[in-house]
């Protein structure tokens, strides 16, 4: 047998070692989930916790099986390798198979899988059980942001005068179950808050259920996970779990409208600009009360995010930009910042005064200047915000007006 050149043997050793190191590093890293806001491995709600309870044993079994197969392959490769001094005419024992063994290793994996199956079915029952006293929220995806409707009076209708329509961020009370219904106004999206539960597709024409519940107050990130076109990557979600009292205050504020004119003259001018240009697509309760309709091009008022309480949100544009601090330090027009920290509306969340000093004006103005430059969209096809060619004065007026929308 011809000996291999040394370089090939060295390559084999390096390659094998690196793969082993890689696997070890990956296993270690899968336990390091701090600073990873989308991780599925640190569950923070009952549903994601029950999934985790299944994940740990199943993954362990899989790991054991893999180590077994790999170990067997390596061991056998070593033990039964052809020796250099072996007689070329000598052959191993010609075994054609052993039926008992075959039956054994057909039944054994079937039994292991049966065990996994029992756990799976029980978890599925648990995940699909309806919770009493839950808040009903309809989540609708559209290119490339999310709309939330709260059935506040629990009458089964999401569009009543006592119900809430909002966008981009979902506010929930910690510790209370939320019954989400996902749907879509255009293509299929997928609503996913990994910390709280698995995902559920938002399919146009369908109403799919999903339970959410956060154990503690906090911010939970999400990312659309069904490819939904151009800006799929920029379609994020943000769930703000707050205390029950904050939630009640938030609901109360969301039910208010903005019929009254702002007192500041710049903001008032901004309101005029808004009515002339923005109201074709956006809605502010009290100004143009057209309720959201299903998105079907050509655009009509109500197909872009509801702006009634814009400043109660910490993020905008599909949760890719912070509306408030913290923002990037470089002052660039794209200060998306550290995603681990969402923009903080402070007191404005529950209807308090907007702290204009903390508003991320740089990005907000850049957005108004040319939105498609910051986020790929398809405004010529009626999907996404166009460049409205606003003057700098109009932008200043608009921002002043938007800052009144607490």
């Amino acid at each position: 047998m011809q000996r291999l050149p040394k370089i090939v043997r060295v390559l084999a050793v390096i390659s094998f070692t690196l793969v082993v190191v890689l696997f070890a590093a990956l296993i270690v890293n899968s336990f390091q989930n701090a600073g990873k806001p989308l991780t599925t491995l640190t569950p923070q709600g009952p549903s994601s916790e029950s999934i985790q309870k299944l994940l740990v044993p199943v993954t362990s079994i899989a790991a054991v099986v893999f180590v077994g197969v790999l170990g067997a392959a390596l061991l056998i490769s070593w033990k039964f390798r052809e020796r250099k001094d072996s007689d070329p005419d000598e052959f191993p024992e010609q075994v054609h198979g052993k039926t008992a063994l075959e039956i054994g290793w057909t039944i054994l994996p079937a039994l292991i899988l049966a065990g996994i199956a029992v756990g799976t079915v029980m978890t599925l029952i648990n995940l699909n059980r309806e919770e009493p006293n839950s808040i009903n929220v309809q989540v609708a995806g559209q290119q490339w942001w999310w709309q939330y409707k709260y059935d506040v009076n629990n009458d089964g209708n999401f569009d009543g005068p006592e119900d809430i329509t909002t966008a981009t961020e979902m506010v929930i009370p910690a510790g209370r179950p939320i019954q989400v219904t996902t749907t879509s106004n255009d293509v299929i999206h997928s609503f996913w808050i990994p910390g709280l539960n698995g995902k559920r597709d938002a399919v146009p024409g369908l109403r799919n259920p999903l339970k959410l519940q956060a154990d503690e107050p906090g911010i939970f990130r999400g990312q659309c996970t069904e490819f939904c076109g151009l800006s799929h990557a920029n379609m994020r979600m943000l769930v703000r779990a707050v205390s029950t009292s904050d939630y009640d205050a938030w609901v109360k504020n969301q039910l208010k409208d903005h019929a009254a004119d702002p007192t500041d003259p710049t903001a008032l001018a901004g309101k005029k600009v808004w009515q002339a240009l923005c109201a074709q697509c956006h809605v502010i309760d009290g100004i143009n009360d057209v309720k959201m309709k299903e998105t079907k091009p050509p655009l009509v008022s109500g197909v872009a995010p509801d702006l009634t309480h814009l400043m109660t949100r910490g993020t905008f544009a599909g949760s890719i930009f912070n509306l408030y601090e913290p923002v990037g330090s470089d002052g660039s027009p794209l200060p998306m910042g550290d995603v681990a920290a969402a923009g903080d509306p402070g007191a404005a969340l529950t209807g308090g005064k907007v702290n204009t000093a903390t508003v991320n004006r740089v990005t907000l103005e850049a957005w108004l200047r040319n939105a498609p430059a910051l986020k790929p969209m398809y405004p010529q096809g009626g999907r996404g915000m166009p460049n409205l060619n606003l003057t700098e004065e109009q932008i200043d007026q608009l921002v002043a007006f938007l800052e009144t929308l607490n």
């Binding site: 600073g35 999934i51 191993p92 075959e102 899988l113 698995g198 597709d201 799929h232 096809g381």
Partner: protein, 671 residues
């Protein structure tokens, strides 16, 4: 028993027995060597080689797309590709790799090997075989021509409705994708019928089904999967074509459509598709492992039946791609359980391969290394598959990079490693020279490293929340490190593929100074190793009579009652010599498969740009079918033993039946 080998030759053609003389245009081409012969060939070996060459060409395209993806994701907010371009690139990467690389490499091996493994001269329908190849090639070129005509498809390889509609994807990319895959679907379907008929009808005397080499078995199962899966995809694609081109409303939700219709149709195709891609590689490995372990495959019937079981069970698991689509908890539970239990036959295969190696005398040639690579790497893909058969876990993992990791471990770590093993194993049989072993081993280790560096980190990226199909990610999610590792891995992987291509040419040059490779360089087991290398056009002379599994092996070795092996004949004694092939009748080449296949993309361009052009395409297709039908029958006297234009000038095309004397002679030789 001579029936099996006469069959492709004796098919009477219309009107031939009443002295019909074809006009000149219908004269069959005769070239069997030279560049031109490749365009008219109906030889399953040449067609197999062309499938392989085309697949490697598309592999380079699909691989380049993969590198673009990895460069874009090297760091957060990559700017190499725009969102629009990225969506096209990843869609075309998936489409290319599935339909234009893995499937055709499977077809390459099936075409080349099935007739050799069953002891046939060619496939049952040689012209249809040529047509399948050309239709696949033109379909693939057609899809990729979209890059020059307004951009590629941008909806992901499973092209979910309604995002695939004209409103959401107004460019023609999806039309190219859709029509191109209908064309390659026709190719797959005709190929499947052809190979199924070949296996069922054209086996050598004594080659019962349960004596067939396992590759042939697995290829047969995957052809059955193709036969039933492709029409489902084509149906869905026709609906999409009508929606996009003719304002139908199959997927228009505002007209009451349900977008899950597409998902169901796609995955009823899509899941068997996965198995039909992997089974040929399983077959290759099942033939390679015993060769280099020098003992028989462990549990031949269990390997065969587990393959068949996978083929059947593969139809009952499609909705596991839709656990979060909203199909209801009962469907989720049902498909979760069926999916789990498909792991059983797959596990049986892994354990049988391990048991085949146990107690052997293992020789680690390149094909063996790639096969062991498959056994271990595919196991990772299989186990991650079990992980997301658990529907609640899948609700976290689906559409994240965990899934991307999973299916690359299945299709690269499984199918592609098997194919690489197959390339190294069968290269001498197809081309008459061995690939260099040192480069081959370097190829393996580099590929193993690159493959794991690329795809292993994606497991963790997915579990830590990285969604698939995103053209960008932000800093702060913790995705940076493993994306860099994956990108480094992708280039390592690309260099290993480059090394393979280098090896092809390097070994060819070196082979000039080496003695010609004999028929049986690996001490093979199945009958394809008894014919000279490279395989002569006629394959076998005479057709062997098969008495058991691993027939060729037992012509060389006898087995005592206690399982000891003794050599009873040297390879030279039992291998076949290259003969002049006199008296062997092979199907004649034909222009028409090429012409017929050429009409399909013309018609497809027409459906996109102008219906007049579609009419031209349709005329070519109909004309080619006419030419095909009117073509004179194979002329047995003209085939092979005599290429001179004079010797049989008067024969025209009227000789239909093989010379009875020759036929008798062959029967005797076989007997």
């Amino acid at each position: 028993m001579a029936l099996t080998e006469d069959r492709p030759l004796a098919l009477p053609s219309g009107g031939s027995d009443d002295g019909y003389t074809p006009t000149g245009v219908f004269t069959r081409p005769t070239a069997e060597t030279g560049a031109r012969s490749w365009f008219t060939t109906v030889d399953h070996k040449k067609i197999g080689i062309m499938y392989g060459a085309a697949a490697i060409f598309f592999l380079i395209i699909g691989g380049s797309e993969a590198l673009l993806i990895r460069m874009q994701l090297w760091a957060p907010r990559g700017t190499l590709l725009s969102a629009n371009l990225y969506n096209q690139v990843y869609t075309m990467h998936g489409t290319t790799m599935v339909f234009l690389v893995v499937m055709p490499i499977g077809a390459a091996f099936a075409n080349y090997l099935i007739p050799l493994q069953i002891g046939a001269r060619d496939v049952a329908f040689p012209r249809i075989n040529a047509f399948s190849f050309w239709a696949f090639l033109f379909g693939g070129v057609f899809i990729n021509s979209s890059w020059l005509l307004g951009g590629g498809a941008d909806g992901g390889w499973f092209m979910y409705a309604p995002n695939s509609g004209v409103i959401f994807s107004p460019t023609h990319g999806i039309d190219f994708w859709n029509l191109g895959l209908i064309i390659t679907g026709i190719a797959s379907l005709t190929g499947a019928v052809n190979l199924i008929v070949t296996v069922l009808n054209m086996r050598a005397p004594g080659m019962t089904l349960m004596r067939m080499p396992i590759f042939t078995w697995m290829a047969l199962v995957s052809q059955f999967l193709l036969l039933f899966a492709i029409p489902v995809l084509t149906s869905a694609q026709v609906l999409l074509m009508l929606d996009r081109g003719f304002h139908a409303n199959f997927f228009n939700v505002s007209k009451g459509a349900n977008p899950l219709l597409w998902e169901h149709l796609f995955w009823i195709f899509g899941h068997p598709e996965v198995y039909l891609m992997i089974l040929p590689a399983f077959g290759l490995v099942s033939d390679i492992l015993p060769t280099f372990a020098r003992k028989p495959i462990f549990g031949y019937p269990f390997i065969v039946f587990s393959g068949i079981a996978i083929g059947f069970m593969g139809w009952g698991v499609w909705a596991h791609h839709m656990f979060v689509s909203g199909i209801g908890p009962i469907s989720v539970t049902t498909f979760s359980l069926t999916t789990m239990f498909i792991a059983v036959p797959t596990g049986v295969k892994i354990l049988n391969w391990t048991a085949t190696m146990w107690g052997g005398k293992l020789k680690f040639s390149s094909p063996m290394l790639f096969s062991i690579g498959l056994v271990t790497m595919f196991t990772i893909g299989g186990l991650s598959g079990v992980m997301h058969s658990v529907a609640p876990m899948d609700s976290q993992q689906t559409d994240t990079y965990f899934i991307v990791a999973h299916f690359h471990y299945v299709l690269f770590g499984g199918a592609f490693f098997g194919f690489m093993g197959g390339f190294y194993f069968y290269w001498p049989k197809a081309f008459g020279y061995m690939l260099n072993e040192s480069l081959g081993k370097a190829n393996f280790w580099l590929m193993l490293l690159g493959f794991n560096l690329t795809f292993a980190p994606m497991h963790v990226l997915g579990l830590q929340g990285m969604s698939r199909r995103i053209y960008t990610y932000d800093p702060g999610y913790g995705f940076e490190f493993w994306n860099k590792v994956a990108t480094i891995g992708a280039f390592t992987l690309a260099s290993s593929v480059a090394l393979f291509v280098v090896n092809i040419f390097y070994s060819k040059v070196k082979a000039k100074n080496l003695p010609p490779v004999g028929p049986d360089p690996w001490d093979g087991r199945t009958i394809e190793w008894m014919v000279p290398s490279p395989t002569p056009a006629y394959n076998f002379d005479p057709i062997p009579t098969v008495t058991r599994v691993d027939d060729f092996w037992y012509r060389k070795y006898g087995e005592t009652k206690d399982g000891k092996l003794v050599r009873i004949a040297s390879t030279a004694e039992v291998a076949q010599q290259r003969t002049d092939g006199k008296g062997i009748h092979l199907p004649s080449p034909s222009y028409w498969p090429l012409v017929l296949a050429f009409g399909l993309p013309i018609a497809a361009y027409g459906l996109i740009f102008s219906l007049w052009l579609a009419l031209v395409g349709a005329i070519i297709v109909v004309g080619a079918i006419y030419g095909w039908v009117m073509e004179p029958p194979d002329d047995p006297d003209k085939a092979h033993d005599d290429h001179g234009p004079d010797a049989h000038a008067s024969d025209g095309g009227d000789a239909v039946v093989a010379d009875p004397v020759d036929a008798v002679k062959e029967v005797e030789t076989v007997g």
